[in-house]
């Protein structure tokens, strides 16, 4: 058996009995036990993990760990001090995501030009399209939040992650509806709340 990790948490009580709690220094990893031979792309498993992830977020904010990592405390040890600091600073905060489709996507890089998937993804990010600056300005002003970070996702979309108070989520959703009314020509999706995904990842 292996434990597919979902996130890192401050307290064991933030995890159990929704998921398994694996001690990692002063923190706890949440996860789900699966057979060693269980394909990680199995649809039911993905949905199960997604549901548990959402339930865990209702309990408390956690640092999200990319799907596919099997629990190995030694591998996460270098991150623990930073995660603890993040969790203590942002326990009452969640992320909201505004994904905006570009009006005129740039040409997509050809996969055959890249030796690795990671290189291809980097090229996709580098070729990301721009969005209407008026929409961008309005989105920042209306969604607000404690901190915002724009990330080029690919050649067809740009994304803003906003760190907001849990109590502020309803207001942010209302802000999304006002953007929809005022910018009907801009395709976008406001989603959340999410755990600490972008703001916990140094590579973003």
């Amino acid at each position: 058996m292996k434990v597919v990790v979902i996130g890192a948490h401050l307290h064991r009580t933030d995890i159990e009995p929704l998921a398994e709690a694996v001690p990692a220094g002063a923190l706890w990893l949440s996860g789900i036990s699966v057979d060693d031979n269980q394909p990680l792309g199995d649809r039911d498993l993905l949905l199960r993990v997604a549901n548990v992830r959402a339930a865990l977020l209702e309990r408390a904010t956690f640092v999200a760990i990319r799907y596919g990592f099997a629990a190995d405390v030694a591998k996460v040890t270098p991150y623990l001090a930073k995660w603890q600091q993040l969790l203590e600073a942002h326990r009452d905060h969640v992320e909201m995501t505004l994904k905006v489709a570009a009006a005129a996507p740039l040409p997509r890089p050809d996969r055959r030009d890249y030796a690795s998937g990671a290189g291809y993804l980097r090229a996709l990010h580098a070729s990301a399209a721009e969005i209407d600056p008026r929409f961008r300005e309005a989105a920042e002003a209306r969604i607000g939040g404690i901190e915002r970070r724009w990330t080029p996702r690919d050649n067809a979309s740009v994304e803003m992650a906003a760190l907001v108070e849990r109590a502020d989520v309803a207001r942010v959703i209302e802000a999304g509806q006002s953007l929809k009314r005022d910018f009907p020509e801009v395709p976008f999706l406001l989603s959340g709340p999410w755990p600490l995904e972008v703001f916990a990842d140094d590579h973003q």
Binding site: G7, P39, L40, G41, L46, V49, A50, R53, A54, V63, A64, I65, R66, Y67, G68, F69, K75, V76, P78, Y79, T97, K99, A101, G117, A118, Y120, L121, L124, R153, D154, A156, S157, K180, P184, V186, P187, F188, L189, S191, W194, P195, E197, V198, A200, D201, H203
Partner: protein, 60 residues
């Protein structure tokens, strides 16, 4: 947006966050599903997600 398309978009968005967000542990190999690694699965979800956003925006 009808209920079905909203549900599909929500599912795509949930899977996108699961597969393409959060901390990547250094040195962790990308785990494969058959010949398709999770990186590509995540990428396909991202692209499908953007297409779905555009389609649903056109319908509303």
């Amino acid at each position: 947006m009808n209920d079905q398309s909203a549900e599909d978009l929500s599912l795509l968005e949930t899977l996108d966050h699961l597969l393409d967000r959060g901390v990547v542990i250094s040195g962790e190999a990308v785990i494969s599903i058959g010949d398709v690694d999770l990186l590509y699965l995540g990428l396909n979800i991202v692209l499908a997600n953007v297409d779905a956003i555009v389609r649903t925006a056109r319908r509303t």
